[in-house]
């Protein structure tokens, strides 16, 4: 009798808990999500990353071009996507500079130029002081025209960019003076947040000249599904959101250590909160479904 009553009470308590869960004020969930991200940041939680084939392919694509060969880095994003993309841009610039590649920066997004400037100031100048503007790197800046910019560059770079971002004529800059079209580059990397970006580089640069250079891309999580069909044939490597950035950072730092690891460690820093927040989400989805099923069975019993 007592056992039966206890079971009944337990059932009532359990169903009451599930009922309350079903009606939980969503602000508790916001608070839990905020804490699940804030606490790992404060505790500096980091977890080991294991490179996925796509991140490894991006690393290998840069490694496979001859040292000192010219590469084109297109910063096709703005500060709104910098949380995901800046870590991979920093790691990519450090990777290219460590291999003494000649780097040409450009942007299809208006604020991409500022993001490229920021990368030059925080990665290239402090950690690769041997890089001289005009000789080892050039900042072309932003030009309006979206995919039209790529299309014209595919046949005539000076027509699209008569000067670099500072106003110096391209013919006066040793690095780009002899460049005619995109085939002058061995690798094109687009760090892309949407349109125009990596997809347009595949369509308008790789499409007409599939064997002239390698194309790699880094993209936000939202855009990845659009780019996946291009990997690995039209795009040799791809960095998938902050996870790809973290993996690529690990590969780059493993081979080319940097004096201040945090400069190319932002991706890994942001993967700590990811794990905790994802665990919370999975837990909430499971609990929510249990509450829903329990609610349905209670409704059915009545």
């Amino acid at each position: 009798m007592t056992t039966h009553m206890t079971t009944q009470r337990d059932n009532a308590g359990g169903s009451s808990f599930l009922a309350r869960l079903g009606n939980l004020d969503r602000r508790w969930i916001f608070l839990a999500m905020g804490l699940s991200i804030a606490v790992p940041i404060l505790l500096k939680l980091r977890f080991p990353e294991y490179p996925s084939p796509m991140s490894r392919a991006t690393f290998d694509a840069v490694e496979s071009i001859p040292e000192g060969a010219p590469v084109l880095l297109s910063f096709d994003y703005d500060p709104a996507s910098a949380a995901e993309l800046q870590p991979m841009a920093s790691a990519l610039v450090h990777h290219c500079a460590s291999r003494h590649q000649k780097i040409v920066f450009m942007a299809l997004w208006p604020l991409g130029k500022q993001q490229a400037d920021k990368t030059i100031e925080t990665v290239l100048k402090p950690f690769h002081p041997e890089y001289k503007e005009g000789v080892d790197y050039v900042q072309l800046g932003y030009q309006s025209g979206n995919e039209g910019v790529i299309k014209l560059m595919a046949t005539n770079i000076p027509a699209q960019y008569p000067t670099d971002a500072s106003g110096a004529a391209l013919k006066d800059l040793p690095l780009v003076a002899g460049m005619r079209d995109l085939s002058s580059f061995k690798l094109i990397a687009s760090i892309s947040a949407g349109y125009p970006g990596a997809k347009e580089w595949v369509q308008y640069a790789n499409g007409p000249m599939p064997d002239a250079f390698k194309v790699v891309g880094g993209s936000t999580g939202v855009q990845v599904s659009q780019l996946l069909p291009y990997y690995p044939h039209q795009m040799e490597g791809m960095l998938v959101a902050v996870k790809g950035a973290a993996e690529y950072e690990m590969l780059v730092e493993g081979k080319y250590p940097i004096a201040q690891p945090e400069v190319i460690g932002q991706g890994r820093v942001r993967m700590g909160p990811q794990l905790v927040a994802h665990l919370l989400m999975i837990g909430l989805i499971v609990l929510g479904n249990i509450a829903m099923v329990a609610g349905r069975s209670r409704g059915g019993a009545r």
Binding site: N23, D25, R27, F30, L31, M33, G34, I37, A38, I41, L42, A82, A83, E84, P110, Y142, Q143, S144, E147, G148, K151, P162, T163, S166, G167, A168, A169, V202, Q203, Y204, N206, G207, P208, P210, T220, G221, V222, V224, S225, P229, Y230, H233, Q234, V240, A241, V242, K243, V269, R270, P273, Q274, A277, H278, M281
Partner: protein, 282 residues
């Protein structure tokens, strides 16, 4: 009556919860402001160490960004005036930014710079290169000028049809540009990438490579079947289409997961800003 009461109770949180939430928000807000103010006075260590952090305008910028960030977060509690202000600021700044950006990156260098290069070089873009064919540039720039005027003609009380012609040209040029690239990159190249050996041999039999090839081909065929509406989806076609639906659902789930990852990263970056740059907790 009872139902109405129940709805009303659901819509408005219980008073004790409201009090709890307000206390939480006020307490956290006060702690944050106190911490940030102390850090700005040199108590944060990092502020004193970083000369940039001591600059007045940097401090003003960081405080503005922090208040706007918290203002946007405040919507998670409920809609409020601070959130409305932040929303309006964002809309206003974005509209102004794109207008100015369009003027300085398109109109000035691409149009005015070709119609009156001397004037533009004198007053706007001193670094604009000197053209070797100014006459041809002028003639060519007249085309977009005329088309542009025709496009804004729709604002005039009469002759709105004039704007149809430049719109037709925009559509035609865009279609022409997209057609070739789509056939090359999204059709032919994708077909080539799908037509791969189903049994993959890398020295020996590559089990996972073979599985990947099989999943790719089965996915393409079943999803194409799902979108093939000329035949009724029943029998073998229906079952194949059903498999296609599963592939689509997995794709959507994966895309949603990646979107969630992106959003969490954005939130993490905002917290990093608040903790490191504003509160100097590092």
């Amino acid at each position: 009556m009872n139902a109405s009461n129940t709805d009303s109770n659901r819509n408005s949180p219980a008073p004790r919860y409201t009090l709890l939430w307000i206390s939480l928000v006020v307490l956290s807000g006060s702690l944050l402001v106190l911490r940030a103010a102390m850090a700005a006075q040199g108590d944060g260590g990092a502020a004193a160490a970083d000369p940039a952090a001591q600059s007045l305008w940097t401090t003003v910028g960081i405080w503005t960004a922090a208040i706007l960030t918290i203002g946007v977060f405040s919507f998670l509690y409920r809609d409020n005036p601070l959130y409305k202000v932040c929303e309006s600021v964002l809309i206003g700044v974005s509209a102004a930014y794109w207008m100015v950006n369009g003027f300085w990156t398109s109109l000035v260098p691409q149009l005015f710079g070709k119609l009156m290069p001397g004037l533009v070089r004198e007053y706007a873009l001193p670094s604009m290169p000197v053209s070797t064919t100014p006459g041809l540039d002028f003639a060519l720039a007249c085309v977009p000028l005329i088309l542009g005027i025709m496009l804004v003609w729709r604002l005039a009380p009469k002759g709105g049809w004039i704007s149809v012609w430049p719109i037709a040209m925009i559509i035609g040029v865009t279609a022409g540009l997209k057609l070739v690239s789509s056939i090359e990159s999204d059709f032919m190249a994708q077909l080539g990438a799908t037509m791969r050996p189903l049994v993959v041999m890398n020295g020996g039999f590559d089990f996972w490579g073979t599985m990947a090839a099989l999943v790719g081909v089965v996915g393409v065929l079943t999803v194409l079947t799902y979108f093939f509406f000329s035949v009724e989806h029943k029998g073998a076609v229906g079952k194949t289409a059903r498999v296609g639906v599963w592939f689509l659902m997995i794709t959507f789930g994966s895309a949603f997961g990646l979107t969630v990852m992106g959003r969490i990263t954005l939130l993490a970056q905002r917290f990093e800003f608040l903790f490191k740059d504003w509160l100097h907790i590092s």
